[in-house]
Structures are given as structure tokens and as C-alpha cells.
Amino acid sequence: MNAMRAFRIFAAEAFRDGLRRRLAFAVALVLVTGLAGAQSCTQLGLGSMEVNGETLDGSVIGGFLAPILFGFQAWAVLAIAGLLAADHLARPLAEGSAVLWLARPVSRGIWATARLAGALGVALLCGALLLGGTGAMLVLRQGVAIEPVFAAAAATALGSLVVASLAMTASLALGRTAVILLVLLGLVFVAFANGVGLATELAHPAIGVGGLVGAVDRYGPPLFSAIAGAVAQWNPHVDPGDTYAQSMQRLAVWAAGGCLLLVAAFRRREIEG
């Protein structure tokens, strides 16, 4: 059987499976809460704001508000991708329903990547609604440019692939709770490392961040550097340089590595029959 056809069939089933899961309700809740938060936060620029007797221009408020708001929403999308992937492959393996599919003439790599695509599809659908809705409100109400919305959405999508593939790989060795903790703590730590890295870069470009934080920022997946690099264009006081392009290149390497690691780990895995 054609490998692409098998992939399409399995990915469609994995997507449907993702929508049927109880976690989908949590995803919907994040979506509604996130959009409500965006609706509330983007009202800020409609009035006038005075700081130390000086009236701030709406675009200045938008320049600070938009990146923070978009960053939070993107973090939620990355977390959803990781949480969905945490057992999207491991669950059918543990339940035993996977053996029926794996007894068919399809490679393990096809099945694993199709499960990844299914989980990612649900996360990206949620991301499109959340980031699209937030972006639209920011553009219409804060008057910020629309291009960074697409650039940041692309960075979030690539970051979601990294998070989901690594979470799925981890789920082959660890239990669901451990993987969920790993995803959430990992995302917090990477966000912190990327934030410290960017802040240092902007304030003191000559000084590098050391230790584990510096190593994660320099060599780890630049999940938030890429997003920040895109949305920093909204703030006229910040010059992100080529942070976005560099971060996207490194994210692409991490995404390819994550997928290869998943396939390699799954090929080694013994299946209960």
C-alpha cells in the first residue's frame, strides 16, 4: 500500500481521535478563556492612558501589550500540543488497539508520525482560532501591523511540532503524568531562558547568559525567541535584529530532530500483542 495513503488515513483517524478525547474539552476551555482574555485586554488601547502626566499614544500601549498577550496565547498553544501528544501514541499502545493497525502493511514510522500529525492538527486548529482571533483584535483595536501575526503563528506552529514530537517520544518511556509535567515545566523553563536571553541581548549585547539557562537559550529549541522575534516588531522601541530568522532556522532543526527521534524510538519499541 502506498505510504502516503496510509499516512493520510492514519493522520485523519488520529485527528478525529484527538477531537473525541476528554482533553478536547480542556482545549476548548483554553480557547474560550484565551479569546475572552484577548477581548478584555485589547480594550486597553481604546481609551487614553496617562503616565506621570503624559498621555500615552495608543500605538505605544499596543507595542507593549500585543507582544505580551500574543506570547501568552502562543504559550498556551505550545502547551496544548505537548499535552495532546503526551499520550496520543502511548494510549493506543497501552490499550492494545495499536496492534490491529501495526499488523497491517504500514511502517511504524508512518503510524507514529501520523499520530503526531493528528495531535498536532488539533493543537494547530486551536492555535489558528486563538492566535487568529487575538491577532485580529490586536490589529483592529490596537492598530498594530498584521505581518507579525503570521510570522509568530508560523513560529508557534513549528514550535508545536518540536514540543509534540519530543513529548510523544518521551511518552514511549515515561508515564502520562510524568510527560505532562515535563511538558509544562520544560515550557516554563524554555520561556524563562529565552526571556532572559532576549532581555540580556537587548540591554547588554556584549554579555552572554551563562549556566544552564544560557545553554538552553543558545542551544535549546528557541520556542519563545522565535515568537518574540516576530512580535517585537510591534514595539517601536525594540530592535529584534535577525532573532526571528535565526530562531526559525534552529527551530526547524529541532523539529526535524524531534521527528527523527520519535521514529527511531518507536522502531525500537516492543509492541504488546
Partner: protein
């Protein structure tokens, strides 16, 4: 070419040998019963043949290919012992996906689903979720997916599990039909009467090794049933004989006497 092959295949889990140097070669078009006590290595043998696990030593081949090669599973139908059907799929969708994976499409796919659901008696359940089917119906659904695409190799692990007597009779018919059209059938089962009726040869495993194998007619001694052969091969002694009225112990058979062994008393029990 053999449809199923294990060449000196061993499988170890930690210190435990699930299979130890097992040689098995099943020619195309034959039906073999894989027997053994619980934990004898039957399911492990199937897992090696399907590429679900790698042998620690030796090799497994499915249709002449490495089972880790997806092409080896082309034309293979499998019914697992622990059948777990996926959540939230209707039976129709479930069979549709399996038919597509078996290489069918268009009108052929629809015809095949009609045929297997008619054969296995689940046609009126097509729109029900598979995970909501009763044990017996789920087993029939499992059979339907295994038979889809008229597989040339059929691997069945405890195929009559959960089936009522009518279902057991039907299952026998499905296996015989597959044999009649030239499919290779490997049945792993504890139901010896079914194996005796559907298989022409048997392989009996004992603690991961082959204790007996060959054509049933060659293995069975005059007047012996498959159960007798099984006990002889697995327990290394004869089937339980009549009880001595005085002692309450089983009367030892000639094989037990040869081995200088007493038959177990009533309190000993047959064990696993």
C-alpha cells in the same frame, strides 16, 4: 517459500526465556495449531512473526521477509488474543480503514466490507461504535477485520475467546474457508478440540521450547486424543487416568511408570 518461519528464535525478557531456540517453518496453504500451557511462549512467537518484537537470537520471517519490513505484512490477517477495538469508531469506519490498509478502494472496498460483515454476522452493527460491542460481537468484528482482503496468511490468537457455541462453530467455518482457498492459518489456542478440527498439524510449546511438532496424524498414537498428546508433551506425562478407588490417587499410565513417577494425588491438582 515458507509463509511463517522462526529459525533458532529466542526471546528473553530479563532472565526469563519466553522462547528458546525455536525452529518453525509453516509452508503456504497449511494450517497449524500453536499450543502450550500459559506462558509457554505462544503469543511471543506470534509477536516475533508480526514484527512486534525482535528475537534476542535467531530470526523470524513472515512471507519470506523480515517482519520489521512493512511489506511482509501485506496479505496478512491478525486477530490478537487481547482484542481492544479503538474508541469512538463505528464498525463501518473501522472496517473501512482496515480495508483501505489492505489495499482495497472504491467498489472493491465496499463489496469486501459487505462480504466480511455478512460472513461474520455483524452487518446490522455497522453503524455502532466498535468499543461498545459485546465481547462476542467484538470478537466477530475482530474476525471481520482479520478476514478483510482475503489474506493469504491468517494469524489467530485465541480466536474463539468470548464466542458463544454458535460463534465457535461459525469461527471454525471461517477458518476452514480460509484454508480452502489456500491461506496459511496459524491458530494459537487453548481450545484443543477446535485446533483438532481446524488444523492439520500442531506445534506444542513447553517453557519456550518445542515439545512436539508435526502432522496430527503422525503425532497422535492409536486411540489418543489431542488432549492426551498435549498433556504428554507439556506435562511430560500421560493424561490423567482413572482414580484408584482404594487410594484415591490416579492410576499411573505406562509413560509415568517408565519415568518411575507416581501419578499425582487428588489434592495435587493439574496446575497451570
Amino acid at each position: 517459500m515458507f509463509s511463517l518461519e522462526l529459525a533458532g528464535a529466542s526471546k528473553r525478557y530479563g532472565r526469563r526465556h519466553a522462547l528458546a531456540s525455536v525452529d518453525l517453518a509453516v509452508p503456504q496453504g497449511t494450517s497449524v495449531g500453536l499450543l502450550g500451557a500459559n506462558g509457554a511462549g505462544k503469543t511471543t512467537a506470534l509477536r516475533l512473526l508480526l514484527g512486534f518484537a525482535r528475537p534476542t537470537r535467531g530470526a523470524a520471517r513472515l512471507r519470506g521477509l523480515d517482519p520489521f519490513d512493512a511489506a511482509s505484512r501485506r496479505g496478512v490477517g491478525y486477530l490478537p488474543e487481547r482484542l481492544r477495538l479503538p474508541h469512538g469508531m463505528t464498525l463501518q469506519r473501522f472496517l473501512h480503514v482496515h480495508a483501505a490498509l489492505a489495499g482495497l478502494d472504491g467498489a472493491d472496498l465496499v463489496r469486501e466490507i459487505d462480504a466480511v460483515t455478512e460472513t461474520t454476522g455483524v452487518r446490522d452493527r455497522l453503524h455502532e461504535p466498535v468499543d461498545g460491542l459485546s465481547k462476542g460481537l467484538a470478537q466477530r468484528a475482530g474476525f471481520a477485520q482479520a478476514l478483510i482482503g482475503r489474506p493469504e496468511v491468517l494469524l489467530l490468537d485465541e480466536p474463539t475467546s468470548g464466542l458463544d457455541p454458535l460463534g465457535v462453530r461459525d469461527a471454525r467455518g471461517w477458518i476452514e474457508s480460509a484454508r480452502a482457498r489456500g491461506a496459511t492459518v496459524l491458530v494459537s489456542s487453548h481450545v484443543l478440540s477446535e485446533v483438532e478440527r481446524t488444523c492439520e498439524s500442531v506445534v506444542i510449546l513447553r517453557e519456550g521450547r518445542i515439545a512436539a511438532s508435526g502432522a496430527l496424524e503422525a503425532l497422535l498414537q492409536p486411540g489418543e486424543t489431542l488432549e492426551d498428546l498435549f498433556v504428554r508433551a507439556v506435562a511430560g506425562r500421560e493424561a490423567p487416568g482413572p482414580l484408584d478407588q482404594k487410594t484415591g490417587r490416579e492410576v499411573p499410565g505406562p509413560l509415568d511408570q517408565e519415568a518411575g513417577r507416581e501419578a499425582p494425588g487428588p489434592q495435587d491438582g493439574p496446575g497451570e
